[in-house]
Amino acid sequence: MGHRDPSLTRKWGQGGKRRAMAYLPSHIRVKGSRDGLTFYFDGNVAMEVWLAELQQLLQREHHLFQGPAVPVRICFGRVPLGTEEAAIRACFASHPNLIVHRVEASSTSITSRTGEKERTAPTLLWGPVRSGAEIQSDGALIVAGDVHSGARLVAKGTILVFGILRGMACAGSDGDIEAIIAAWELACPVVEIASRRKSFEKLSAGPTLVRLEGEELVTAPARHLKRGQGGREQPWAKWWS
């Protein structure tokens, strides 16, 4: 940590807020996965701003970015200009182990901390949701407990159930096709995402997720979650952050 700015070192008892603001770049997010590192850029701010942040980040955290070769993916938020892409690649040139594979205009890269506040916070619900209850959420809905048969969950975003889902779940009630439904155990007869329904005859054992692919709802074991929904882009990222 020798290269860290001493003025930014945190002392116990000091508020963590200042550190977080100064320490973490506000327009770049880094995510690590099995497939390498992904840098998310907020393409809506001036080039100098994010370029300075990127340089700072690579310099300050140089100990993190040393070691074996890591493939790097850049999600820019919009189509990057030629000069911008060149500038990014030039920055990464100082770290030979970071191999920039792709610079892409990903629609899911809106992960900057500035834009985050505008989204609706997820609703967290404790305890079992009993038969006959209907829960509404303007964003994502997280239930820590079982959802019993006859209960109904309606969320504009994703629904996560840390328990057994026996009741009805409607995710993406506003038509959000990126919403998913995941549960420790899916034991419900029918789920709905963005007004498309799927009924189950066989109940799945173990953590399961349901997502929309085209016009159809597909189920998958929830271990695919950590790979960004089985190869698809990470719609999660927007509420992970």
């Binding site: 009993r130 038969s131 006959g132 407990g145 079982d146 019993h148 048969s149 006859g150």
Partner: protein
């Protein structure tokens, strides 16, 4: 001051009235002053379960509308003299009484009783709302079948919504033969079915009552079976009453006792030999 306990279930026919009568009498057997109130107005049954049907003169509606005094309507039980019954009206409707009237009535009864058990009607309409109005805590009766469990779940949700957070479960009419078939092999009953229901409903278990043919007989004879020492269902009700009094009692052995020769065989390791195959 007595505690007011509502016995409810959502689904009909799971044994609310039988439970109320038997638990009430069992509490009486342990020296408690108990008042049983039938709130199933229009379809009264509790008086039959206690064998008091021929003595009913005034009822709950009469008390609430001021036709008679409370003391005139209360019927003393034939067997245990600390147990009283306030019967429901058979001719009126459930809308003839309001939750406020129930609360006032319960406030009058509370000082002179230790337990006031309210037998709730099936369903979740006005009658149910009347029954839960003044209750301190609730007993939910259910059977180990999906329809009863789901209705119980709904009722527990409604009770929570009404501010009754202390809800305890009685699993009624559990068929022990099936338990035996699913037994774990080491002699103890397979409690899978019980655990499943309790897990699903996520409330405390107050007791498990095994299916007992003698319940039907006792209804025909108009004499609650808790009064007979040897009946297994009666034993379960007595255990429930003791738990309500704050004792900590493990669940009774639910599988029927094995025949003598089988027990002898088990004693000599026959069971273990079968296991090893």
């Amino acid at each position: 001051m007595g505690q007011v306990v509502v016995v409810t279930s959502g689904k009909g026919g799971v044994g609310k009235t039988t439970t109320t009568a038997n638990v009430g009498l069992a509490l009486g057997m342990f020296g408690q002053r108990v008042c049983l109130i039938d709130t199933d107005i229009g379809l009264r049954n509790l008086d039959l379960a206690l064998g008091l049907d021929e003595r009913v003169v005034y009822d709950l509606i009469d008390v609430c509308s001021g036709v008679c005094r409370l003391q005139q309507a209360l019927l003393r039980d034939k067997h245990i003299e600390t147990v009283y019954l306030l019967p429901a009206a058979q001719t009126k409707a459930k809308t003839d009484i309001t939750p406020e009237q129930m609360r006032t009535l319960l406030e009058q009864l509370k000082p002179s009783f230790d337990f006031i058990l309210l037998d709730s009607p099936a369903g979740i309409e006005q009658g149910f709302q009347n029954a839960i109005a003044g209750a301190d805590w609730a007993i939910v009766v259910t059977n180990p079948e999906p329809a009863a469990v789901r209705d119980a779940d709904r009722v527990i949700g409604l009770l929570h919504g009404a501010g009754l957070t202390d809800v305890r479960l009685i699993l009624n009419r559990l068929r022990t033969q099936r338990l035996d078939a699913r037994s774990t092999g080491n002699g103890t009953a397979g409690l899978g079915e019980i655990e499943e229901v309790v897990d699903q409903l996520a409330v405390d278990l107050l007791g498990v009552v095994p299916e007992d043919e003698r319940v039907v007989d006792s209804n025909l004879q108009k004499e609650p079976l808790v009064l007979h020492q040897q009946d297994r269902a009666g034993q379960a009700y007595r255990e429930i009453a003791r738990r309500m009094l704050g004792e900590s009692i493990p669940l009774m052995e639910l599988t029927p006792p094995k025949p003598f020769w089988r027990r002898l065989g088990l004693r000599f390791g026959h069971h273990a030999r079968v296991e090893r195959k």
